[in-house]
């Protein structure tokens, strides 16, 4: 809708019709006209430092070749599915981290936060929803206090969706509805949202550097998790179907193909339609041949993936094991929603603006504190989701859930995928691509029976490499 206040006073300034001058002056401003031209522009951008996801995609391909030549099990049917389920929790944490990184901040607590979220969920479903009995009254009251404080914070900053989620989560807890898996899963996310608003408040309102806040909370949540379930203990969620299925069961092959057709169809129709429509309206857009080629490429690559996943990968002749793991469409939906939020909404634009130049954003009338606070809410909400997926993968919640390498891998994945540590640059998809790289390393090395020593060293080196690419490309864009 056009804002009635928006006029073109400048038209009078020049004393000519803006419409006609615009047509003359920017007649050539329609973007690249064909694939060759867009390829040239793209190489120009890469040279100028805007490398995007290129290094990560190259990394995926190179690692796949190396590991495959070392052990051809790497590209086997069963390992492929296994590898996707390994990457899933990292991908979710990484997608959340990207919002925080776009702000030039960091969240080191998402791993242990996901442990607290998952534990709350697991206790709920296994103890008939009676968290008061499961936690002991003081701990139970402390949990409710956290929720109440978080409600206050989110309401103060008008983050109404977050407020709503926490309130509903609180109701589920108090009414013992958490004995039902869907409510318990929701509570995992709601606890994440509450944790995120606490972090966001300390960073954006109080002004403590996020590095310190989240380092402190990384330790604190580890303690909370121990308090929740006890030293060395674990809560099994294997008997809770809804949770267990996510990482351990698969869509039927037909459903997989139907979802593939729908997703690829919508994507192609949207991008091709947009390209045509922008050309017609004489706006900058991508050339139609590039769009079609890309849609085809995506259709082929994902099509092959679905085909492989739909093959029977069972080890025995008695039981068939085939189909796309449930977690894959979940990741896909999070990816799509996150991408739309960042690229198509005012909120997303403000996240980039605050991360790019906080002062400019403030002067443009953006509530900088609110935006800064909100990204931590998103990151921790995603930690709540990752907690559910992680519990599904591990068959439950051990007392050291998420305290090892998860958050470092998540931040690493985002950076490897091409998101800048300096803020302002990055996309949600970076988290997924980066998580694939990170999960490939232990997976590939594991098949060669090389121990964790190599896993850590190589992952560290890859991360260092990605951070260097980030720093160098930042220098290039600054000087070009």
């Amino acid at each position: 809708m056009t804002d009635p206040k928006l006029t073109t006073p400048a038209a009078d300034v020049a004393g000519t019709s803006a419409q006609s001058t615009a047509a003359v002056d920017f007649a050539n401003d329609v973007g690249p006209r064909n694939i060759a031209e867009s390829f040239r522009l793209y190489t120009q951008r890469v040279r100028g430092g805007e490398v995007g996801a290129l290094p990560a995609v190259a990394g995926v391909i190179i690692l796949a070749i190396i590991f495959y030549s070392a052990n051809n099990l790497f590209l086997s049917k069963s390992n492929f599915a296994n590898f996707l389920t390994q990457a899933a929790p990292i991908a979710v944490l990484a997608m959340g981290s990207i919002f925080v990184l776009l702000m030039g901040e960091i969240d080191l607590s998402i791993g242990t936060a996901s442990g607290v979220c998952a534990a709350t969920m697991a206790l709920g479903v296994t103890r008939n929803g009676d968290l008061n009995a499961a936690l002991g009254t003081p701990t139970y009251l402390a949990l409710l206090l956290l929720l109440v404080v978080a409600i206050g914070i989110t309401a103060r900053y008008r983050l109404w969706i977050a407020t709503g989620v926490i309130v509903l989560g609180g109701i589920f807890i108090v009414t013992k509805l958490t004995q039902h898996a869907p409510a318990a899963i929701f509570v995992s996310i709601a606890v994440g949202v509450a944790i995120g608003s606490l972090i966001g408040f300390l960073v954006a309102h109080v002004g403590i550097p996020s590095f310190i806040v989240t380092l402190a909370l990384f330790l604190a949540w580890q303690g909370v998790l121990l308090k929740f379930i006890g030293q060395g203990a674990a809560i099994s969620t294997q008997r809770v179907d809804l949770i267990n299925k996510i990482e351990n069961e698969n869509l039927s092959p037909t459903t997989g193909w139907i979802l593939w057709v729908v997703a690829v169809g919508i994507y192609s129709a949207y991008t091709i339609g947009r390209s045509l429509q922008r050309r017609r309206a004489k706006l900058t857009g991508e050339p139609i041949d590039l769009v079609v080629l890309r849609a085809l490429l995506i259709a082929v690559v994902t099509g092959i993936a679905i085909y492989v996943l739909n093959e029977n990968r069972g080890r025995t002749v008695f039981a068939k094991l085939q189909g796309v793991p449930y977690v894959v469409p979940i990741i896909f939906i999070l990816l799509v929603v996150g991408t739309i939020v960042l690229a198509k909404t005012r909120y997303g634009r403000y996240v980039y603006a605050v991360g790019g130049n906080t002062e400019a954003a403030r002067r443009a009338g953006i509530d900088v504190k609110r935006i800064r606070l909100s990204v931590f809410v998103i990151a921790s909400a995603m930690a709540g989701v990752a907690g559910v997926i992680g519990a599904s993968r591990q068959g439950g919640v051990p007392s050291d859930f998420g305290s090892h390498t998860d958050q470092l891998y998540a931040v690493g994945a985002a950076v490897i995928g091409g998101t800048s540590l300096f803020g302002g640059r990055g996309k949600v998809r970076d988290g997924v691509i980066g998580a694939l790289v990170i999960a490939m390393i232990p997976n590939g090395l594991g098949l060669k029976n090389l121990g964790s020593s190599y896993e850590f060293m190589i992952t560290g080196l890859v991360l260092l490499l990605a951070a260097s690419v980030d720093a160098i490309s930042r220098r290039r864009t600054a000087t070009s």
């Binding site: 809708m1 056009t2 804002d3 206040k5 928006l6 006029t7 073109t8 006073p9 400048a10 038209a11 009078d12 300034v13 020049a14 000519t16 803006a18 419409q19 001058t21 615009a22 003359v24 002056d25 920017f26 050539n28 401003d29 973007g31 100028g48 922008r278 309206a281 706006l283 900058t284 198509k344 909404t345 005012r346 634009r349 980039y352 603006a353 991360g355 790019g356 130049n357 002062e359 400019a360 954003a361 403030r362 002067r363 443009a364 009338g365 953006i366 302002g424 640059r425 864009t477 600054a478 070009s480």
Partner: protein, 259 residues
């Protein structure tokens, strides 16, 4: 003479113990350029930021079209039609020209999605009507623009909206000769289109060339507001450096009080 579109009466502003603006009066007239001059640290940028709603004033009155107004934030300044082109430009390097021009005031289509098409078209129209020919594409990232191009984008951003008063804080300080020329022409065109223009500059030739009024700040006090036709470069320089010149300017007592 026309009524001022924007008027300040006795405005004071302190940062903690630092009293930056003392009882400042200022008049901005529609269709005319008022140059705001003063030495470094005189308080010019602070004054502009008070009008933009970035800082709140401690005391004094701001009148817009003769009516008292209270500007509590950038959005309220924008709602009145007051736009600022900041000294440090305030553009986001990681966003493109269109995104920067509409920052904080994005247009929506139905379903709450950003209306990129309309924004792109409006941005082009505005740039074209300002006779901007140096920018190739409105979808370029601002990081890739030269100093003069950035200045142009910042000014275009200010006139994109139905603005009534535009302040430009040292718009030519970092520019070469040709680009300075373009920006000064642009400043003049803004006034000719009926906007009230406030121009902060250290370049006396620029000031004398494009402005109708000169307002000189001296250590946070308004030394004098004089019509450009009735003053000279040497008088303005004297006002800037000593706060008085002949029988105009601050009284000796006032000038010394600020020391």
């Amino acid at each position: 003479m026309a009524e001022p579109i924007l008027e300040l009466r006795g405005v004071n502003k302190s940062f903690g113990p630092v009293h930056v603006l003392h009882d400042v009066d200022l008049h901005i007239y529609p269709g005319e350029v008022t140059a705001l001059v003063g030495d470094n640290g005189a308080g010019k940028s602070t004054l502009v930021k008070c009008l933009a709603g970035i800082y709140s004033i401690d005391s004094g009155e701001v009148l817009f079209e003769g009516k008292p107004v209270h500007i509590h934030g950038p959005a309220e300044a924008a709602a009145l039609g007051i736009e600022i082109v900041y000294q440090d430009l305030a553009l986001c390097d990681n966003l493109d020209i269109v995104q920067n021009m509409f920052l904080g005031r994005e247009l929506h289509s139905r379903f709450g999605a950003l209306d990129e098409g309309t924004m792109e078209r409006k941005a082009r129209e505005t740039l074209a009507s300002l006779s901007v020919r140096t920018v190739k594409s409105v979808r370029q990232l601002v990081a890739s623009l030269s100093g003069g191009q950035r200045q142009t984008v910042a000014i275009a951003k200010a006139v994109l909206w139905n603005s009534r008063v535009v302040f430009l804080d040292e718009p030519t300080a970092a520019l070469g000769v040709a680009q300075t020329r373009q920006v000064l022409d642009l400043v003049r065109r803004l006034a000719d289109a009926g906007l009230g223009v406030g121009l902060i500059s250290h370049n006396m030739n620029d000031v004398m060339e494009v402005s109708d009024h000169v307002a000189a700040l001296y250590l946070g006090r308004m030394a004098a507001e004089v019509p450009a036709s009735q003053t000279s470069v040497s008088q303005v320089v004297e006002l800037i450096t000593t706060g008085r010149s002949g029988d105009i300017g601050l009284s000796t007592a006032a000038a010394n009080a600020s020391m």
